[in-house]
Subunit: 194 residues, 2 copies
């Protein structure tokens, strides 16, 4: 197991309904040393890519993406959800269905911050059905930017998101892929990766 | 001027209605080197405080708070807004009126992550009317935690938030305090601080 898989086994909590709670270290309370290590790991995995910006989505993607942007020495842009009135002017908009909120959101990035010269690394904490990533990819494409890769902390391998994104030919790296969870036993099965 | 004031003058945009846009470097697209410097500056200003956790609020507080938590070597906890269904169990709840969304939100922190042994540094990007910080202070007090200090990147000095929080005796450090803005001339007047 890698460092994130070990931490998930140690501190993650499996709940009924295929919910994996990582709130004590990843997406409510956050362990900065762990996140910094995640940043270094994504830098290793995408070291050969030319990256001009890191793109993520609020809110829990931000803390995963911060150390990645730091490692690459590039700006971090986060897509906002539609209720913000504080973005004016021209915006890229994509529609995204939120797994946690069970509704549709529009996600928005100002046109000022993405363009055809950009080579993006898209980062998020979880990948389940893939709609958030698909929204970010749509925004990147609207901007004419190149998606050099996508980095996910935890992929739910039993949901379709990973397969869809890989089938489109994108370079997707998920640090931990959960292929199965058992809430009664509290066990997690990770997919073996090279 | 300090490093943040200089950046605000260089890249900030004054809009009518006392709106200061810092979206190109602070809260939509983010300059990680600048944010890291903000983290170091808050570490200097609160160096004598015992801090066990950094507390902030989603979403734009997270990137300001990340480097602060990193400098102090402590976990970062961010308060979530009420629409998240992914927090269960016992929670601290405070009601906060959002300046940007013109409505009331409940902000929530799981009781697992704040307690009476905690000494908190509360961090956010903007301070205007102070309701977000008051909500975080309320949550801290509900938990029995000690608020050792509050750190704000940009305070709108012509709004009441800073005065209220200082009047309550809290140690509030704002890296830039904007006392006036002129949208027509594009000028910003910072409060001189030691």
């Amino acid at each position: 197991m890698n460092f994130l898989e070990e931490r998930i086994v140690k501190d993650g909590i499996v709940k009924p309904g295929n919910v994996l709670k990582v709130d004590s270290f990843l997406n409510h309370q956050m362990d900065i040393a762990l996140l910094d290590e995640i940043g270094r790991e994504f830098k290793r995995r995408f070291a050969d890519k030319k990256i001009t910006k890191v793109l993520t989505i609020e809110a829990s993607g931000i803390a995963i993406a911060y150390p990645v942007a730091r490692e690459f020495g590039v700006p971090l842009v986060f897509a906002k959800k539609s209720k913000s009135i504080n973005i004016e002017g021209e915006m890229y908009v994509a529609e995204v269905e939120s797994f946690t909120h069970k509704n549709k959101n529009q996600v928005i990035v100002s046109k000022k911050f993405l363009g055809p010269d950009d080579h993006l690394l898209i980062i998020d904490d979880f990948l389940a059905n893939g709609c958030a990533l698909q929204g970010l990819i749509t925004i990147a494409e609207s901007a004419g930017a190149t998606v050099e890769g996508l980095g996910i902390a935890i992929e739910k391998g039993f949901q379709i998101g990973g397969r869809v994104i890989r089938n489109f030919g994108y370079h997707l790296e998920s640090l931990a892929i959960v292929d199965a969870m058992d809430a009664e036993k509290g066990t997690i099965t990770f997919r073996a990766q090279d």
